[in-house]
């Protein structure tokens, strides 16, 4: 049976609908894991909350915006500094965290005054910052604080500021995916077309669904600069609040992360007629294809080919050095959702790696359609996986490396399986040509790291099972 009931799930057989083992000649019309559905009681989900999806993933990336979190302190701290999205203005977004620090009395008597006071305090402390996003959290949503009314009042008191509100408490959806959705739709409805951007090129686009993880956006920006394409708005890597207000003026929306940001691209197409082009930005083959498509749209194919040729000449030999050493290695990808389908073919085609298991925390069924179409037979496709399932799957597929977050990464280290940070990266950027060499290097360093083999040796054992020769096999 292609839908798999793992031994660890014997008491929660509903999990079978979420785990698929692809067989020969099967496709997603026959077997598609149920996704974006409520977590089944009894499973220890690794999902984030809806608020986290709005703040940590999208809003908190902006480099010129106060992120006012209306709730208890923990909601602010736990969505701050856990993702590495630098900016070119000194990483303002990563240096500071803001919270209304709700206490019991505010919950009992209402938190609107507290919010208003906090907003003024933040603007007073940072007079050069004129933009703010206010987020509700579980307690402030439950007590019904009217954050939009407070934002309106503050904007009236301070005519030079602009405030956007995101009403998406943690319980609003089944995972962080709901937060992506709420922020996308709120922004298009309330803020897009409230400011006219300055147009500096005959070729304009928005780059949507890239969050400048360790410099992804800044690396890709060097390509767009060389091609003479103006990026009106980055949604939201290294982006600004006001640039996002001018998204309606772009000629093309280029989408990388269709899960977190496809909604705004769809609405920009529906409301403003701007076409949506989905590309993959990880991998040589994919990046070249993405550049070719963008250049074909604008009729500047020759420029694109010259750029690709330059980048291949510079980086392909390095990639090939790693490919020779990573050929045939087995990888598991346990991340959010889209990186499953972005990466499975790119690591296979560009590095010769076989992806043997993939798990998505917040992907929808659309993401599983994509990854099952691209992924291999004999590979596991898992929705909302939990730790026990991971351990059992590991026994079946025995990967050489796992791309996942630090929390799961620390767990699998104990099994002497290396992990690479699939969310915030080890040493990125990972997008683009240079970036994929970085990914290859981090994968190589993980797979051939001698420490993990040494850590598996019991020094009291006179005949250790793992011989030192193992640690030199990369040479």
């Amino acid at each position: 049976m292609p839908m798999v009931l793992l031994k660890c799930d014997s008491d929660i057989p509903e999990r079978q609908k979420h785990i698929y083992l692809k067989g020969p000649n099967e496709d997603s019309t026959e077997f598609l894991p149920v996704a974006n559905a409520p977590t089944i009681p009894g499973t220890l989900s690794e999902r984030g909350c809806a608020f986290c999806g709005a703040k940590l993933v999208i809003g908190g990336v902006l480099k010129d915006t106060i992120q006012m979190i209306h709730g208890p302190l923990g909601c602010a701290y736990d969505t701050w500094h856990t993702k590495r999205y630098p900016t070119d203005n000194g990483h303002f977004n990563m240096k500071y965290v803001w919270s209304t620090d709700m206490k019991e009395s505010h919950v009992v008597f209402g938190g609107e005054k507290r919010l208003e006071q906090s907003m003024h305090e933040a603007f007073d402390e940072m007079p050069e910052i004129k933009r703010m996003i206010v987020y509700t959290t579980c307690p402030t949503a439950l007590i019904g604080d009217d954050v939009k009314a407070v934002a309106k009042k503050v904007m009236k008191d301070r005519p030079d500021v602009d405030v956007f509100t995101v009403e998406c408490p943690g319980f609003a959806g089944v995972s962080q995916s709901k937060g992506h959705h709420v922020l996308n739709i709120g922004w298009i409805n309330e803020k897009v077309a409230t400011l006219e951007p300055e147009i500096t090129s005959q070729y304009t686009m928005n780059f949507i669904g890239d969050f400048n993880i360790q410099g992804d956006t800044q690396l890709l920006q060097t390509y767009w600069d060389r091609l003479g394409i103006q990026v009106i708005a980055h949604f939201t890597g290294n982006g600004t609040y006001d640039a996002l207000r001018g998204m309606h003026r772009a000629q093309l929306n280029v989408v990388n992360c269709a899960r977190s940001s496809g909604y705004i691209a769809n609405e920009l197409k529906k409301q403003y007629g701007i076409p949506r082009l989905d590309i993959d930005s990880w991998g040589f083959n994919y990046m070249a294809e993405g550049i070719r498509k963008i250049c074909a749209f604008f009729g500047i194919e020759e420029k694109g080919e010259a750029l690709i040729a330059d980048e291949y000449a510079k980086w392909k030999p390095k990639l090939d050095w790693y490919k020779e050493r990573l050929q045939g290695k087995k990888m598991a990808i346990w991340t959010g959702g889209p990186r499953l389908w972005h990466w499975t073919k790119s690591v296979e085609d560009d590095l010769g790696i076989q992806v043997v298991a993939m798990s998505s925390k917040f992907g929808h069924e659309e993401d599983f359609e994509k990854v099952i179409a691209r992924g291999q037979e004999g590979t596991y496709y898992i929705d909302d996986g939990n730790e026990l399932e991971f351990f059992e799957i590991l026994e079946h597929v025995k990967p050489d490396v796992i791309f996942t977050g630090p929390r799961v990464g620390e767990l699998i280290k104990k099994l002497h399986i290396p992990y690479v940070n699939g969310h915030g990266y080890h040493n990125g950027p990972y997008m683009g040509f240079e970036g994929f060499v970085n990914l290859a290097r981090d994968t190589y360093n993980a797979v051939y790291n001698p420490i993990r083999h040494l850590a598996g040796i019991d020094i009291r054992d006179e005949n250790p099972a793992i011989l030192p020769v193992k640690i030199r096999e990369a040479a």
């Binding site: 093309l252 769809n266 070719r292 498509k293 963008i294």
Partner: protein, 112 residues
């Protein structure tokens, strides 16, 4: 003929994100648009690029046509009628796979 449709279907499934857009109408629009431009390119016609949508479908089709010409030698030998037949078969297969038989529960939601 079926073998040729299999070739193109396998390629599109593996490479093309446009078949998996959010809703049925987006998928149908992309399938019609990209395959329409692909036909023009396969048969040596100059594609019309009057609208932003024309340019988008052209951009996606151009990559597809280039890849398919290098992967599948039979395309260069095919005449216009054969290309039309294969692309019609591909369209039917794609509509069946990513729209009609898709079990994605969000495909028909009226809102994004």
């Amino acid at each position: 003929m079926e073998d040729h449709i299999d070739d193109l279907f396998g390629y599109v499934q593996e490479r093309c994100l446009w078949q998996f857009f959010s809703r049925t109408w987006d998928r149908q629009e992309n399938i019609d648009g990209v395959l329409g431009k692909a036909f023009e390119l396969f048969t040596g016609k100059d594609p019309k690029l009057a609208t932003p949508a024309d340019k988008l479908f052209y951009a996606d089709a151009k990559s597809m046509v280039s890849d398919c010409l290098s992967r599948f030698p039979w395309i260069k030998q095919a005449d216009e009628a054969e290309i039309r037949q294969v692309l019609d078969g591909l369209k039917a297969r794609l509509v069946d796979n990513v729209i009609t038989k898709s079990t994605n529960r969000e495909l028909t939601h009226h809102l994004y």
